[in-house]
C-alpha cells in the first residue's frame, strides 16, 4: 500500500485523493459485474486486501447489487397477455 503524496485534491468519494484508490473506485462496477479483465482483477484485489476504505467500498457496491436483486419484486405477467398476442399474430399476414 503506497501512499502517493499530494495531488491537489478535489474531494472524491472515498479516496482521500490517493490515485490508487481513485482507480479502484472506477473499477468497482466492472468488478462486481464480472466484466473486469484478469489484469484489472489482480490489481483490484491486491489493493483491496490492504486498503480498508476500498475494501468497504467494494463490500457496499456488491451488497447493493445483491440487495436490489433480492428485493425488487417481479411482476406477474397478466394472464391474458400471452393469448392476446398469440391471437393477433395468427391473424397477421
Amino acid at each position: 500500500m503506497k501512499t502517493i503524496a499530494t495531488k491537489p485534491n478535489q474531494v472524491s468519494a472515498n479516496s482521500g485523493g490517493n490515485p490508487d484508490c481513485e482507480k479502484i473506485v472506477s473499477l468497482l462496477d466492472i468488478i462486481i459485474d464480472g466484466e473486469a479483465t484478469e489484469e484489472d482483477r489482480t490489481y483490484f484485489f491486491s489493493h483491496v486486501e490492504t486498503c480498508q476504505e476500498c475494501f468497504a467500498a467494494h463490500q457496499k457496491h456488491e451488497q447493493l447489487k445483491r440487495f436490489l436483486r433480492e428485493n425488487i419484486q417481479r411482476k406477474v405477467v397478466p394472464t391474458n397477455l400471452l393469448s392476446s398476442i398469440q391471437s393477433v399474430i395468427k391473424t397477421t399476414a
Partner: protein, 203 residues
Amino acid sequence: MSDQRGSQLTKEEKDARFEAELLPIIDPLYNFAFRLTLDEDDANDLVQETYLKAYRFFEYFEQGTNAKAWLFRILKNSFINDFRKKSKQPAKVDYSEVESYYNTEGNDNDAEIASTSDMRSQSVQELIGDEVASALNSLPVDFRTVIILCDLEGFTYEEMAKILDIPIGTVRSRLHRARNFLKEKLEGYAKTMGYNNEEDNDE
C-alpha cells in the same frame, strides 16, 4: 411491402419459430416494460406492441442469436418513441412513515432489533421491496434502465450497449452514477435493516 426476404418460411413455420424463440421471453419483457412505464396497463400495451413489431420484422432476427436482447431493444425503442411522452408520472408515495418507524423503533437496542427481525417475514419483506422499488423508480429513466438490465436481468455490458445504442463506456459510467445515487437513497434506511454492516467493522 412484398419483399421476398425470408419468404422461404410458410406462415406456419414462421409462427412456430416465433412462438418457440420469442414468446418465452414474455416474463422478463413484461417486467422491463413495467419498470420503465411504472404502470401495468402501459406495460401491457408496450409488450403487445413489441411482439407485434418483432413479428413484422422477424425476418431480420437471426436464428440462434440473442432473442432476449433483440426484444429488449425493440421494447426500449418503442418506449422512447411512443410511450415516453405520454407516460404517466410515477405516483408519489410517501415513505416517511416507514422510515420513521424503523428509525425510532429499530435502533434503540439489541432487544428491539431482535424483535423486529422476528417479524421480518411477509410484511417487512414487502416494506423493503416497496422502499427499494421506490428508490429505483426515483432514478431518471436512463439510469433506472441500466440497473434493470444489469442487476435484474443479468445482461452483459456489450448486450446493454446494443440494446441501448450507446458505447460500453457510457453503460459503465451510467451504472456507476446510478449505483451511487441508490446507495445514498437507501443508506439511512438500510442501516436498520442489516444491509449496511459497516458499523460492525469500525474497530
